[in-house]
């Protein structure tokens, strides 16, 4: 299951500056684990120590927030796009 993952802003640092990655995974959780294997430290940007998704980082499957799907268990299909969006505060004061 190859999925396109788009990461914004600060998360890009963890994945070697890339903004898009193609990753295999049958669920959102598996996808995160697979990215973390390639880029250690990735998972801790998204989840706390107990494996719960942070509430200040949103993960979208296509245009839908996975919190309203099945969270980390949300199944993925070939060609899906997963977007990872941490909250931004900048108003550039």
């Amino acid at each position: 299951m190859s999925v396109r993952v788009q990461v914004t802003s600060v998360i890009q640092k963890v994945v070697n500056g890339q903004r898009e990655l193609d990753v295999d995974g049958s669920t959102v959780g598996e996808l995160i684990t697979n990215i973390d294997a390639r880029y250690p430290g990735f998972a801790e940007q998204l989840m706390d120590g107990r494996g719960e998704l942070h509430r200040f980082v949103n993960i979208y499957l296509n245009d839908e927030d996975v919190r309203y799907l099945n969270g980390k268990e949300t199944p993925l299909s070939d060609g899906d796009t997963v977007s990872i969006l941490p909250a931004l505060a900048g108003g550039a004061r």
Partner: protein, 379 residues
């Protein structure tokens, strides 16, 4: 039946500066239609949405106002002269004296001219322009986002623009903050903001709120305005403004930027809020500020212009607001994407069983004090 029509100066840009135009028609309405056919957009200047001649425009057939005759149904005959005369507000001919016009006053010829590119659009028209003039919009922060928002609101003739800002202009602001210039370094941002906005448009009333917005003052400031625009630079202020706007029943036009990324959305009370999107703030230090990570100057213009556009739509009641949609902008790929936002039934503010019923201590909520950040380090 050829009828000669006097065109007032503010409308003459449509008629290639012709003062008198001769058209055919059997009634005043015929003549106005003929004018619109020859000079598209003319009807928008003389008719409101109900296709009535608004009260601020008088039409004279020879020397009689048509309301005293049969209105636009008044018959006209060969050799008649028609004159279209927009009313002047309170004797302020020219209107350039910087005083705000009374709420229901007609647009002055100067205003009709100044805003003609807006007024000519049927979605705006003279009524829309008066709505803009009567609108009160609060902009949180006179920095990167607040700048383009406030400038475009001022240019469009939004009558009252409130600015919440306590900072002074720093040299490092000038890479993106269009309200301030090199000569303003060291001055209060509100001073240069007022100067810039009133130089662009002397009709606009700029209300200064020279304080950080806090739980103590937010419910005094926010209810004075129709629409709130968020250009805050820290999470504590973002959650505070979100909660206060919701509790005051105000629409919040939100925007945020970092690096090459921008986000924008509109929260209408009852359609979800910032807490539905991000229930908790990140721990202090995890998501860097623009000062720490940097920000592309021009992205402030993109996101700020989008926020100003949403305010404009909101005031005029046109289009589809950016509600329940999070617009994501990636300047590097120049891709705009839209994600869904929902009202979260478990949201502590706007959910089914709210627990946040008044403003809280947002510095505690976010685990840091935004005011402890040194001025020179701010993004």
């Amino acid at each position: 039946m050829p009828i000669s029509v006097y065109i007032p100066s503010p409308f003459r840009r449509l008629t290639a500066d012709r003062e008198y135009v001769t058209v055919e028609g059997r009634s005043v309405a015929d003549v106005l239609d003929a004018l619109d056919q020859r000079y598209p957009g003319f009807a928008n200047l003389v008719y409101d949405r109900e296709r009535k001649v608004p009260t601020h425009i008088n039409i004279y057939l020879n020397n009689q106002e048509i309301h005293d005759l049969q209105g636009t149904e008044t018959a006209v005959s060969d050799g008649d002269q028609l004159a279209v005369i927009p009313a002047l507000a309170g004797g302020a001919a020219g209107g350039g004296d910087g005083r705000a016009a009374p709420a229901n006053a007609a647009l002055t010829p100067e205003e009709v001219m100044r805003y003609s590119r807006h007024i000519i659009m049927p979605q705006v028209g003279p009524q829309g322009q008066r709505k803009l003039r009567n609108a009160k919009v609060l902009v949180i922060g006179a920095g990167g986002l607040g700048g383009p928002v406030a400038v475009y609101l001022a240019l469009a003739g939004v009558g009252t623009i409130g600015l919440v800002e306590f900072d002074v202009v720093d040299l490092s602001n000038l890479q993106r903050q269009i309200l301030h210039q090199t000569k303003d370094v060291g001055r209060p941002k509100l001073a240069s903001a007022r100067e810039t906005l009133t130089a662009y448009n002397p009709h606009v009333k700029v209300v200064e709120h020279p304080l950080p917005i806090t739980s103590d003052n937010a419910m005094e400031i926010i209810p004075q305005y129709d629409i709130i625009v968020n250009g805050a630079d820290n999470f504590a202020t973002r959650y505070l403004v979100n909660d206060a706007a919701y509790l005051a029943g105000k629409t919040l036009v939100d925007g945020a930027i970092l690096l090459f990324d921008g986000q924008a959305t509109v929260y209408k009370p009852g359609s979800g809020c910032y807490r539905c999107l991000y229930p908790d703030p990140p721990p202090p230090g995890l998501v860097p500020s623009c000062a720490e990570a940097g920000v592309l100057g021009a992205i402030t213009g993109i996101v700020g212009s989008i926020q100003a556009t949403e305010v404009f739509k909101q005031i005029l009641g046109i289009g589809e607001p950016l509600v329940n949609r999070l617009l994501l902008i990636d300047a590097l790929s120049m891709e705009f994407r839209v994600m869904k936002i929902r009202r979260d039934p478990s949201c502590p503010l706007c959910g089914d069983h709210p627990t946040v019923k008044e403003l809280i201590d947002y510095d505690v909520f976010c685990g840091s004090s935004p005011l402890e950040v040194p001025v020179s380090a701010r993004a």
